[in-house]
Amino acid sequence: MTSSFPKLLSATLVTLKLVSASLLFGIFLGTLFAILRTGKNKFLKAFSYYYSYIFRGTPMLVQLFIIYFGLAQIEYLRSSFLWVVLKEPYWCAIIAFALNTGAYTSEIFRSAFETIDKGIIEAGKSLGIPNSKIFYKIKLPIVLRQSLPAYGNEMILMLKGTSLASTVTLMDLTGVAKFIISTTYKPVEIFIVAGSIYLLITFVIHNIIKFLEKKYSFNN
């Protein structure tokens, strides 16, 4: 039991890497698709709607398996430059996770975009601020602040989601925990240790979000 502790800790590192990389790409995708969704182009609007619908309507495990096992089947892909990335289980996992969290993030941002008070935008326009500046300096900060609580939840869901990486050969926290359980047959002890590590990370994320919410509160 004590001998498995270092193994679990190094696996935690894998989990943390997966979460941060997925969230990073996911937030980029989320912003992009939220903008397309609230934009004027009908085709792009529909595209981002279906993207979000499909990725939110299917289990992430299916998405991961399609990307890992499914795409590897296509001969053409394997001889293309994309294979450099898709060859690695690590990148397959990050792509699947990022696309998934991107879909949820785009919904969070979209609803924040839609709740921006029209008056603020009009005020900006009447002051003669150019459109791009209105977007970066007014809209985006409001959206980000508005989205903080919901995005915090999404971060925690993503942390849990990375446990699926263990199904495509990556030894993350859950993968190592499962391996130890199936060799030592001590499910309860391992569950407590691995579970506590996850809860600890959740706790940290929760508090960072809380801190940010306070810092960027509308009331100061």
């Binding site: 499909i54 289990p59 398996f65 446990s163 499910p187 569950f191």
Partner: protein, 230 residues
């Protein structure tokens, strides 16, 4: 397309029954979740600190720990726990808890944590005036709860319960690791035996989309029904 035919040569019928199995597990898990919510929501609302702590511990752990880990706990630990109890009563054989029960229970206990939060939220957002009004009218506590508060809780909870249903339905895919033949496991078997993972996992995705689409239709109707008069 040959591969998706019904009958001995194709996987159509297997996938069809796997879809029914997914639905059966998801519905059972949802109901088990409601049972848990029925126990833990009152504890959460209660003014007793210890009860609050118990309930918060449950919802925090079940919402903070990966579903897979919870499933492994029950899959590997459930049998051992039941056998341990049986041993106390003098029975020393193997007791099998079947994959359906393990799966529905582990997904249900997670689903219950989300449901608890939803019901607590619904209860808290009922206006104080409603409680006071029923007091003034002289309604007994249980009458006021079942006739005034509970119907409103339902109305407020349904949109969020719809989300819990979506989470629960998708979580059932993870039970495939225990060997229960639901959509994901069946696709895994078919993909392995035909060496065509792309086709079968895509079919799995379509089946899940189909399930979410139609269950959302039904739940939205329910929402409209409970919103009548508002």
């Amino acid at each position: 397309m040959e591969l998706l035919k019904f009958g001995d040569s194709g996987w159509g019928d297997e996938l069809f029954f796997a879809t029914l199995m997914t639905l059966a597990v998801a519905i059972t898990a949802m109901l088990i979740g409601f049972l848990f919510a029925l126990i833990f929501t009152p504890l959460k609302i209660s003014k007793n600190k210890t009860l609050n702590f118990i309930s918060n511990f449950y919802t925090t752990v079940m919402r903070g720990v990966p579903e897979l880990l919870v499933i492994y706990l029950f899959f590997f630990g459930g049998t051992a726990a039941v056998m341990y109890v049986a041993k106390i009563f003098g029975y020393d054989g193997y007791i099998e808890i079947n994959a359906f029960v393990t799966g529905a229970f582990s997904i249900g206990i997670i689903s219950g944590a989300y449901s608890t939060e939803v019901f607590r939220g619904a209860y808290l957002s009922i206006k104080r005036g409603q409680f006071e009004a029923s007091k003034v009218l002289g309604l007994k506590t249980n009458v006021s709860f079942f006739k005034v508060i509970f119907p409103q809780m339902l109305r407020l909870a349904i949109p969020n319960i719809t989300n819990v249903w979506q989470i629960t339905l998708k979580d059932t895919a993870l039970i495939s690791v225990t060997g229960l033949v639901e959509i994901m496991r069946q696709s895994y078997i078919a993909a392995g035996s035909t060496r065509d993972p792309l086709l079968f996992y895509s079919v799995a995705a379509v089946l899940y989309l189909f399930l979410t689409f139609f269950s959302m239709k039904i739940l939205n109707k329910l929402e409209v029904y409970y919103r009548r008069g508002y």
